[in-house]
Symmetry: C2
């Protein structure tokens, strides 16, 4: 180690467990104060490993060395292009910090985040938490300005009081989103076998989460949806949602989902109806969901969105099919070109470029509306292709475009945002 | 019309509503007995439209003409390469029939089905159901041998007794999966405005669904997941699930989801443990979920799967991360090739070809195991790329490979299959 010429900020250790202890004097000599300990074979393998882990922590502490892990899948910080993670993905930098008490689950969530352009502040697989525990990380997230949203996969917490107290403090400034592994007997028994963690009292944990304003995810994908929504959109002040559709059953389905998730689909006021009457032909729905049927003019959508967002009874908007329509247009153009030679590849290209330009512009204007009126607007694609992304950054502004593939993701995320905004008021 | 030389099986009509009636004598003259009436402007636009629709039905009936629609997004039948649908997609042929009382929703679901390789028997947007109603279609599905799974988006049913009685009969032979639009007050009020359908009594509808053995979907994407599972896998005889993971929190998360969805994660018997002991190094979990940690040998997975599927306490298997690992391998290979010139593009290609071959083989062997033991095995990718598909057809066998992106989709689908198998026993 001493042959390395310059100072070393961080040692990444992957040697077998029984050789780790002997590295401490070398770290000391080289003045290495931070260690990422990937190696497994410590507390998670039984009594012997636990003893080894304790001894390691003691020696490291005496030498003033901080250890992440052992048994971790690594860490990353996209802000400084530092990636030391088992999963080789490069998420964009952003406001979501992701900490997982399971490296596999954490790195795979990180891969999904990268795919959806969800900006990451940092990732950490906390491993066995021999020295630095989830409670410590929480206190770090509290003071880190770049962290806007805290996302955790938690199997067990050593010091519940400290964890929930800091979660409550952090929650005042930034949402804390938690997927608890081991919510059920089957799950907590699996967790005990996995990390050696004791099955904590689940009901108590859940109640403490609610009190601390923790946003609870029900599945790994929820973590991503909630990250996207919380880190990109203003919080809704109430639970009243305006739904905008291009026709059909999507408005019905979204209304059902809203009511089932504690959101309200308010009736349109006469004033709003008469405003929209001026924008749409007479056969629009005249009700919420606002079904604009065959309307094709992109500017009309934007005008309706602005009428709705100004309406005092509207706390949030979910629009469906406006973004994502280019996929449908592409399919129609391509099959038209097959049967009608007038529609050559140039025609298809132009139509697509127009559709893409329109979608980009819609997202930009949506973000502007959110900045002006401070209410969330969420899009739903209803179709997806390889270019579909949940989050779209727009000119580095305060908010971002969020478009989910399905209405269920939009509604569930909005409902959790509403719950969190209610907790903040208490 | 008479200038068309040959007989016409089906007339596809898109002329304005007020010109449709005058076509009937022409159809009669040309001996056209089937009409797909795309045109809108009938019952859904109000009283006047309703009168026009009634008159049309009367005249058509007198002329012995069948009408699908009006106000429909079309029909398709991949078996004869017949596509007459608003959404230009070409799903593969298969056993799932999809009928939607919303053209938009239906065709977009059809697009998702095509993307996931879910085989389609036929699609129909039933439109206003002026003449052929959902009750009629149900009786068709009952006698059609190619229909293996019936998937419906339903907003309203005119003759509830007839619908539920036929659903019950159909359900004895093939599952009937329903997403009900208008489960809530908000949803049914939106449905009333959309199709002009009366809000039916929701609780009664839901209770009747349960009695008739109808599998109830909660969101549009559920319809796809359930289509994939029901049309590709044997039904589980009980609710006990063996979970196989490559390590980490996925086993914990899947255990939670199982218990929350009425499935059981049984403890491994001593016999099974000693059998797996012979296959894996000593640090495997020795419990269900079966966490095989770092094991990389593809043949080992298959041997473990076969041990598990023979275990009497196992009604179904969900494995996670075995299929989909090639995406991880690709990422690792690509980043390794950047830093180490020994790993050139040829090396990466070979490794990928190996991983792909292994995944293909695993799916094939999984299907063989299902055929031999008649128990469902579902995979979970945990990662996805542009090639990820839910359904994989294997040599035209009875069953197909099903791999979902997330454990929640696998667990929820399996739980619904279990419920249906319980209903069949009553």
């Amino acid at each position: 180690m001493t042959e390395i010429p310059n100072p070393v900020d961080l040692a990444v250790v992957t040697v077998p467990a029984n050789k780790v202890l002997s590295l401490i004097p070398e770290f000391d000599q080289k003045k290495i104060k931070n260690v990422l300990l990937i190696s497994s074979g410590f507390g998670e393998v039984g009594e012997e490993g636990k003893i080894l882990e304790k001894e390691l922590v003691k020696k490291a502490r005496n030498a003033g060395i901080l250890i992440i892990g052992p048994n971790t899948m690594g860490i990353c910080n996209p802000y400084i292009s530092f990636y030391c993670v088992g999963s080789h993905v490069r998420p964009p930098s952003g406001g979501t910090v992701l900490l997982a008490q399971s490296g596999n689950l954490g790195t795979q969530i990180l891969a999904f985040a990268a795919k959806e352009d969800i900006g990451i502040r940092a990732f950490c697989g906390s491993g066995n938490e021999a020295m630095i525990t989830i409670e410590d990380y929480m206190e770090g997230f509290e003071v880190d300005d770049k962290t806007k949203t805290v996302v955790l996969y938690v199997e067990s917490v050593k010091n519940g009081r400290r964890f929930f107290e800091s979660a409550k403090r952090v929650g005042q400034h930034k949402p804390v989103i938690v997927l608890k592994g081991g919510r059920t007997e089957a799950g907590s028994s699996a967790a005990a076998s996995h990390t050696g963690a004791m099955a904590s009292d689940i009901k108590v944990f859940m109640a403490a989460c609610r009190q601390a304003g923790i946003v609870q995810a029900e599945s790994p994908m929820d973590l991503l949806d909630l990250s996207a929504a919380f880190s990109s959109l203003p919080l809704p002040k109430g639970n009243k949602v305006a739904l905008l559709t291009l026709g059909g059953g999507w408005g019905v389905v979204a209304s059902d989902l809203c009511e089932e998730n504690g959101l309200i689909v308010p009736k349109l006021s006469e004033e709003v109806i008469s405003k929209i009457n001026k924008l749409l032909p007479p056969f629009w729905s005249h009700a919420n969901p606002i079904d604009i049927v065959g309307e094709m003019n992109p500017e009309t959508y934007m005008k309706i969105l602005e009428e709705l967002i100004q309406w005092p009874e509207c706390d949030a908007i979910i629009h469906m099919g406006i973004i994502g329509r280019k996929i449908m247009i592409k399919a129609i153009m391509e099959s038209t070109a097959i049967v009608d030679k007038k529609y050559d590849s140039k025609f298809v290209e132009n139509a697509l470029r127009y559709a893409e330009g329109f979608e980009k512009q819609t997202i930009e204007q949506t973000v502007k509306l959110m900045e002006k009126y401070n209410k969330p607007i969420i899009g739903v694609y209803l179709l997806n292709d390889d270019e579909t992304r949940t989050v779209t950054e727009v000119n580095g502004g305060k908010y971002k475009g969020v478009n989910f593939i399905t209405p269920e993701k939009a509604v569930k995320s909005l409902a959790k945002m509403y719950q969190y905004s209610q907790w903040l008021k208490v």
